[in-house]
Subunit: 323 residues, 4 copies
């Protein structure tokens, strides 16, 4: 008899989830599994929003941002009694295996669920923050970086006529990855991230000298997780460096956009490896990408560690911004 | 003998200036005029940054945002003595006619210059704010609107998974055009602009009811010129409507981006009509676009009037947002 | 009692139809009408694919290309007996008024239907070819032009390193509008359209001279409707001008893409005016856009006339390309 | 005394060259080297188009497609006497090291030059075809894939209303990489590449059945290097499958476009590793990217081997398209 396998999205959605859903259906069918969708994340597990999925359900979604099956942050799933209900729902549909697109919080929840009820799962790291330990890449990051790029490129077009500093806030929570890569690839003059202590005073002299030498504008990329508010950085430019400053807060536009080719291909590969793992005795793992290859890692090694920024990138930061 | 004609950009730059420069050179040559560039706006007039322009100078710029010849806001040009220097510089190059890409402040300055020194000019309304009286369209607006659209579309992709209100601030100074058109064309749930008084209380009940009926998110587009800060609107959503809110401040990304086809075509037409006017006894005018056609208007009718939002658009606002 | 009104798409779809559907539902409800969708064009009329439409049906489509309700080219609707069935279906749903997004063929069909059965309708000109007499703008054109622009801009980036001629074919059937505007706004060196006779020989000498003077590449925009195949133009470059040539056929990518702001706003206005007309004794008309305003025109004046290219544009063509 | 190092682009340009030039200047200066540009590839070496480069030369180019310093295919450089001239020119500028952005032909030429004259160099694989042995990634591929994606996404928007097959030709010469990844990430129904023999007959039955079962359209991605012309594939759809077909030839638009974040970051890393290698006894190598890391390889291992498509990708092709 064919086995049943389900997929769900948990936490914030990212571009790349839709291509993942499409490939999930196709790859499940190819492996003689019946694919199911759980709608609205763990909330849907509890509320039995679980349905069979077919080719038709994933037609025309490969190029769309967001996730067709919804996502959620579930407080209820943190309670034992709701997890018991979730288990009943899965049993009702005869579902033994779950693929979970989410972040480390979602994986920790799933880990508990596995230990309590034996529901096998494989996590696929999905967050634009790229802040999950154990994997060098999380689904959605590339699309997000390219949205940020487009925004910064547009600002750059106009920057020189204004004689101003442009202070641009990126997402990332406690992780400076988005800000750092954006700064490197846009040639920004300043990059501030939570991982690296900074002292604005050290830039003051240098920036004043650059203005005196003819520099017309500054691009500053700051991660939302730094200790100061983006408006304080703008204020510093105005008061200490002596140049008018303007703020851009990119906000949730960083979460959307049509998925890039890289995110579609990674979605494809993550899903293939996740299903392969579930069919081959990986019952409580996250599929991780490192050094060009995929490996299953334990929840312990992924969701209970602190993410470290790539040391090569940190060196570049140091080189470029003398921090 | 061939006459000399120059072009300059004044005030904030907009996408569409580069295509205008390209067509200026081509159309001047076709009309047996020698084209000149004045770099860095009125500052360049004063500092004699004036050069002959040729086909080579405009190769490959038609698809670039910003302006190749720079722009500026000049305080010196408001003083008689600097205008006298500017006049000397123009005389030195034997330049009799100027095309000025800018806003109403720039046109008023040029008007004084004309009255003092007889330098003929034609203004081309250029500002993303679309806030110049006498013309229904200003160069750069379409590109700006499409940049805003792309940002809002990306937010919309992700909006439904979050159960949040997204409050997006657009530019426009005292004019709500960008915000209003963006709201209409993105299907936003709220639109606040400086021209129309609003009372947040009137939305409170309705928005709460919509949430109770299943609505997952709100898009709110607010113009930078409204009486409250965008963060206060977000706060209102959180405290009064009872939904988490996030802020996006688009900032100067609205000023850049590759010019759209519409802005390139308008650049083409504005420049043709400006030069035609200068060659046909229009010596102190702005070329305006209304009802699908172009007419020269006096500075009085353009730069000394307050811009009024299109009444049809205001009706739509009323229809959609019950204000 | 509330009246029922339906909308359908006929012929090739265009970007802008989805925003039109969204506004149709909203504007119908606002005017106390019950909105219906007819799926798959006239085929759906015959096969009774007709359904009530609600806000939910149009959520999240404003930023999508194509049309959510499908379109078709129907041969059956050209036969009296199928039109009789269509009428029965409409009667069954009590639908008295139709909004038809389509081209002149679709309008002629509807005109016959009106004369036979008295079903009131208003046509909205929708085709990327912009080849409908009586209106200066057809829904979808702006999006299409911007897709073409993006393609040409990408070719321009790379053009100079190759020493080649790039021959780019645009759509447009018998109408050169897309090719002509694309050429003007991309600074192409050659533009060939069906409306204007050309003689390649006249360019030969000039192009050879330009190569001798250092020109590295040519961009040629040709409309699909010209007498020669795009490959023959490439061959001419290679054999007569003496420069390697490469062909790009844009094809149906010109029909898709997220609708631009201009197309969304035009969709909005076309639909408002169409419904207003139907409610005000316009029973057999097409809503047309000229000189910045909207007027209802008879089918005779729209669908039985040959479209003429804007004479100002033709002048530009002549100026630029000496034809 | 500071040493001199130069960079040049050879062969077809790719998006990513400009960010590479920017980082070259910055990283050379940081390593106490004097950076030089060689304009127009090996032709410029022969004609002494060699100049010092500074920060100013690379301002504002990081987001531009193409290459600011030009590129060329040089026949003269294949002759000993011209290479001798090239060597004299380099000596004249005291340049000891070269970074070469190009393909395997360019690297073979440089290898001869090194053996004759001892000019140290490091190659950076740069071609959208991704067909260089020894490296899994060539600069420019990601940008190219995303341009193709945008084109296919636009076609997909409109595909379902037409009941047609869309046959899209990608570049790649003898390599099917672009076509294969594009097909996987766009969910195409057919993918034909030169590396894998195909038999159209095998698809005929299945495609007819799919049409009978309700399929409205087909997307077919074909690589330019297959044995048949793209038009023959379209003809096959019309004559054998029985569905109207339309052709899109993407052509050189695949070579342009603003470089993606991935290509900018890879440009950054390739250049850093190339210069590091030259300063550390790598005198005749290509810097290659595999398994997430960079290694220097000999010309023998790169430019004299045939590129093999990634076997995992080939499996996917087989899975999806039963070839």
């Amino acid at each position: 008899m064919r086995k049943n396998i389900a997929i769900l999205c948990s936490g914030g959605d990212v571009s790349g989830m839709n291509p993942a859903l499409k490939h999930f259906v196709e790859y499940a069918l190819k492996n003689s599994l019946n694919p199911f969708f759980v709608y609205d994340g763990y909330e849907g597990l509890i509320d039995d929003k679980i349905d069979k999925a077919s080719y038709c359900d994933v037609a025309g979604i490969i190029n769309k941002g967001g996730t067709k099956i919804g996502s959620s942050r579930s407080r209820r799933f943190m309670q034992k009694k709701y997890r018991a209900i979730a288990k009943q729902n899965l049993d009702h549909h005869n579902i033994e295996m779950l693929v979970v697109l989410g972040g480390d919080g979602s994986f920790r929840g799933m880990d508990i669920f596995y230990k309590e009820h034996g529901v096998k799962f494989c996590g696929i790291p999905s967050t634009i923050d790229n802040d999950i330990a154990g994997t060098s890449y999380c689904l959605g990051v590339d699309t997000s970086l390219n949205i940020i790029r487009t925004a910064i490129d547009a600002i750059r077009d106009t920057a020189s006529s204004f004689g101003r500093a442009f202070v641009i806030e990126t997402m990332g929570r406690e992780c400076g990855y988005l800000a750092l890569v954006s700064a490197l690839t846009s040639g920004a003059e300043l990059c501030l991230i939570p991982e690296v202590p900074y002292n604005l005073e050290q830039y003051e002299e240098s920036f004043k000298n650059q203005i005196a030498a003819g520099r017309k504008y500054f691009l500053a990329i700051v991660s939302e997780g730094i200790k100061e508010d983006v408006r304080e950085i703008a204020q510093w430019f105005e008061e200490k460096v002596g140049i008018e400053a303007r703020v851009t807060i990119l906000g949730h536009m960083q979460r959307g956009g049509n998925p890039t080719v890289y995110d579609r291909l990674m979605a494809y590969k993550f899903v293939s490896h996740a299903i392969d793992g579930l069919l081959n005795e990986q019952h409580d793992s996250v599929i991780c990408y490192n050094d060009g290859g995929f490996t299953h890692k334990s929840i312990q090694d992924v969701a209970f560690q602190k993410y470290q920024l790539d040391s090569e990138l940190l060196c570049h930061l140091q080189d470029l911004y003398n921090v």
